[in-house]
């Protein structure tokens, strides 16, 4: 019935392959995998924006799995809410900005800057690709913020209107951090280049005495003039840090001595000494070394900031909670920002919205989807005046509730904060903090002791004192470890593996067991349906498709995609959906029920979607799982376990990887208990799950990886979010973590050796401050090079060839 060439067709919008069965729409010669893709194309083509498809071939994101956008955009027109997004406002003109996480290519940038061609109220829109924000300037007499947000959602770029989205669009503050750094670097670079020029002249003249008389005066004083702004402006982050630490010293003791202290002391020593030498005419000073030192330290800091800017791992409860909620006040509704909720407020939660605070249900039964909090994916029934927990999602109708806590005190926020505590304090932090503190104290003591020992000879004593302070460089701790970890995070990010913090790499060491979830982790979340156990005629099949298309449930949507029908001749009426059970309705006079065995009133143990027509049982549709690629690679992992909530019908598929270590039919809490047991018997355990259904087990494991098909998915309790196509790389990730650990220790050892040698020579008076000041940035650079090169080398040569 369908021409053969369409079986290899690609969706015009998202470029995915489409089989003939699920070709959902066709406009002219173009075919689409789903109606979502087709409608985006229609909007673009009707506004002459089809170059979107020619700039970047992979521009469109598939709209197939995008759940119908239930966001309540109208709330954006409430002044109090809109204020959060407004950059400026003058008269009718207003500039607002949204965080748009689905932005990913040049086409996205192009389209999002052409919005004025679609909505004439928009004057101008511009994109910041790094922050993934789009700022829109519009005339508020012609268009509204809500229709702009709706437009973004319709073209496939829904703005994220959650607390996180709000924070992301405020990221402007971070730009100013970088601006300050660029300015400091510019000033230091300018001073360094010019002081070097002077230093070279002095060097070739064979010392300052070899210069013509007028230059002997001018050169040193110019060098001072150039280095003063470097000291007070460029070096200020270290000086301020050290001053703050010293101020705290009487109150909090030696633990406030951060690594800024010796760096600042060394800088001050060399700077003041140089100035004194020049003014008193006793020497040339080492201002060239001083500015070089500041310059390279700033370069290190900039590299670090850049590495962190590329890493966005902000999936906390914040990306889940809405920005506003509807509150009932004197029989009317009002929209209030989330933080304004107080105990006793009556909140109205619509279908699909998230409950933002704990409370008590008012009115009859409600279905709540707690998959985010508890890991249980089936909706829970809550009755009148029972407790509702924040983080639950209203499933199947409007809910009225009385708040019994504020957002900050709710169960979910507390849960999140507890798991955040678990993640802090890794090996590297502890080592570098303790080592750093003792390092600082030891350096100052050694410098003072050396000064006293050399004291009879005052000028030598001063030289030794400055040399010790300058040469002592805790650079492996201040720069190398974060740079190695930051580079590693960047390398992993490019491969579709995102770490919550750099310390996660340390947590991945010494993993003794790895537990996997099955559905959505080892198999594709959306699997191909098997219609062989369903007895229906062609017309009936279309009728089933017609009813299924009324639901937003993933299974129903898959069925609808495979049972196309003609919407001109077929309509579903009296549609009733019971969340978690099924959907019923009448299509062309026939009563159809699609859902669980109980829902269609049939006793069958097969875990599948059952269908009955006019009370007559017709069989079931089963989704056979499709294994993700490269699962066999996982055999390289130690102690593999399979924890599944499903029946053991697919057991044979996984035998090659898991052997006998397979557990089926587990409830979320049983998964958690099993994890804890393995932890006691075997040791540190890594849990790999799909993030939503395994939250409890993932929180119990030492480290957790959430596997997701699109990175916009939330992963509440996980330390790593990984693109599903990368699951075969988990053994490589563990190897890589070990190798990065080795790189960090190598830089520690190098730095220690350098310091022992350098301080030794300095104490013996064999090292002039000039030499010390050259060696210090040189050692920093070596350490930076070691860590960056190490992180890239291991990624390329040994792990991902």
């Amino acid at each position: 019935m369908v021409e053969t060439e369409t079986t290899t067709a690609r969706c015009k919008h998202c470029g995915d392959h489409i089989g003939s069965a699920d070709m959902a729409a066709r406009i002219g010669d173009d075919v689409f995998c789903c109606s979502g893709c087709a409608s985006v194309f229609e909007i673009l083509s009707s506004h002459n924006l089809c170059s979107y498809y020619s700039i970047d071939a992979s521009a469109g994101s598939p709209q197939r799995n995008a759940v119908a956008d239930t966001t309540d955009y109208d709330a954006l027109d409430t002044p109090e809410i809109l204020k959060k997004f407004t950059e400026w406002k003058s008269g009718d003109l207003q500039r607002i900005s949204f965080y748009v996480p689905s932005m990913h290519c040049a086409s996205c940038v192009w389209l999002l800057e052409q919005l004025h061609k679609i909505d004439e109220g928009i004057r101008h829109s511009d994109v910041n690709y790094l922050n993934k924000t789009v700022a829109v300037e519009f005339n508020s007499t012609i268009t509204q913020a809500s229709s702009i947000a709706r437009l973004l959602s319709r073209v496939g770029y829904p703005p994220l209107l959650t607390i996180e989205g709000d924070e992301q669009q405020r990221l402007g503050a971070r730009r100013h951090v970088l601006r300050g750094l660029y300015l400091r670097l510019g000033v230091a670079g300018f001073a360094m280049a010019n002081i070097m020029m002077i230093a070279i002249a002095i060097y070739f003249a064979g010392g300052i005495a070899g210069l013509p008389a007028e230059l002997q005066e001018i050169f040193p004083w110019t060098a001072i003039a150039l280095s003063v702004p470097v000291f007070f402006f460029s070096a200020s982050p270290w000086l301020k840090g050290a001053l703050a630490a010293l101020k705290q010293l009487p109150r909090r003791g030696l633990q406030t001595l951060t690594l800024d202290v010796p760096v600042a002391l060394g800088m001050t020593a060399i700077f003041v000494r140089s100035i004194v030498e020049i003014i008193t005419g006793t020497g040339e000073g080492f201002l060239d070394s001083f500015v070089g030192l500041v310059f390279f330290l700033l370069v290190g800091r900039l590299l670090l900031e850049k590495a962190y800017a590329r890493i966005s791992f902000n999936r906390t409860y914040k990306s889940f909670f809405p920005l506003w909620v509807r509150r009932e006040k004197r029989a009317s509704e009002e929209i209030v920002p989330l933080e304004k909720i107080t105990v006793g407020d009556i909140l109205i939660i619509r279908n699909g919205e998230v409950i933002p605070a704990d409370g008590i249900l008012m009115g009859d039964t409600a279905y709540i989807d707690y998959s985010f909090v508890s890991g249980e994916s089936r909706p829970v029934v809550v009755r009148n005046s029972q407790l509702l927990y924040a983080g639950g999602k209203a499933a199947g109708g409007l809910i009225r509730m009385v708040a019994t806590s504020t957002v900050q005190q709710s169960y979910l926020v507390k849960l999140w904060e507890r798991s955040a505590v678990r993640n802090s304090g890794s090996v590297y932090e502890t080592v570098s903090n303790t080592f750093g503190r003792w390092f600082t104290i030891a350096t100052i003591l050694i410098a003072l002791t050396a000064f006293v020992i050399w004291l009879p000879d005052t000028s030598s004593a001063f030289l030794v004192f400055s040399a010790v302070l300058i040469i002592a460089c805790p650079c492996a701790l201040t720069i190398a470890a974060p740079i190695a970890l930051g580079t590693a995070m960047g390398v992993l990010g490019a491969k579709g593996i995102f770490l919550r913090t750099a310390n996660t790499l340390a947590d991945l060491l010494r993993i003794r067991a790895v537990a996997f979830d099955k559905t959505g982790t080892l198999t594709e979340a959306i699997s191909e349906p098997d219609f062989s156990a369903l007895v229906v005629s062609d017309t009936e099949r279309q009728m089933v498709g017609c009813l299924a298309s009324q639901s937003s449930h993933p299974v129903a949507r898959t069925i609808a995609r495979h049972c196309t029908y003609n919407s001109a001749t077929m309509h579903a009426v009296g549609v009733h959906e019971v969340a978690g059970y099924g959907i019923s309705g009448t299509v062309n006079g026939a009563e159809i029920r699609i859902g669980t065995a109980g829902f269609v009133q049939h006793h069958d143990t097969v875990a599948a979607t059952h269908i009955s027509i006019n009370g007559d049982y017709r069989g079931y549709v089963r989704q056979t799982p499709t294994l993700r690629q490269g699962i066999i690679n996982l055999r390289r992992l130690p102690n593999r376990l399979l924890l599944s909530g499903d029946t053991d019908q697919d057991k044979e598929l996984f035998k090659a990887v898991f052997g006998q270590q397979m557990f089926f039919g587990l409830k979320p809490d049983e998964k958690r208990q099993l994890i804890t047991r393995v932890q006691h018997e075997t040791g540190r355990i890594l849990m790999v799950g799909d993030g939503l259904n395994d939250a409890a087990a993932m929180a119990a494991a030492n480290v957790s990886i959430a596997v997701t098909d699109h990175t916009g998915t939330l992963a509440p309790a996980s330390d790593v979010v990984m693109n599903a196509s990368r699951i075969q790389d988990i053994p490589a990730l563990l190897t890589y973590a070990r190798q990065i650990h080795r790189v960090v220790w190598a830089t520690f050892v190098f730095s220690l050796a350098y310091n022992v040698l350098g301080i030794g020579l300095a104490v013996l008076g064999r090292l002039t401050p000039v030499m010390a000041a050259i060696m210090m940035p040189a050692s920093s650079l070596i350490v930076i090079a070691m860590s960056v090169a190490g992180a890239h080398y291991y990624a390329r040569k040994h792990v991902w060839q």
Binding site: V109, V127, N128, R175
Partner: protein, 45 residues
Amino acid sequence: MAVIVILFFCSLLVAGGFLVAFIVATRRGQYDDVVTPPHRIMDDE
């Protein structure tokens, strides 16, 4: 020998000019977003 002194200050002045230009550019936000413009250059218009 005064020539070399004049030249020295001239070179400082020129370099200082570039430094001022850099500071002004940074303050106006030229370096705030260095990622989007390379994407924008793909546009035909």
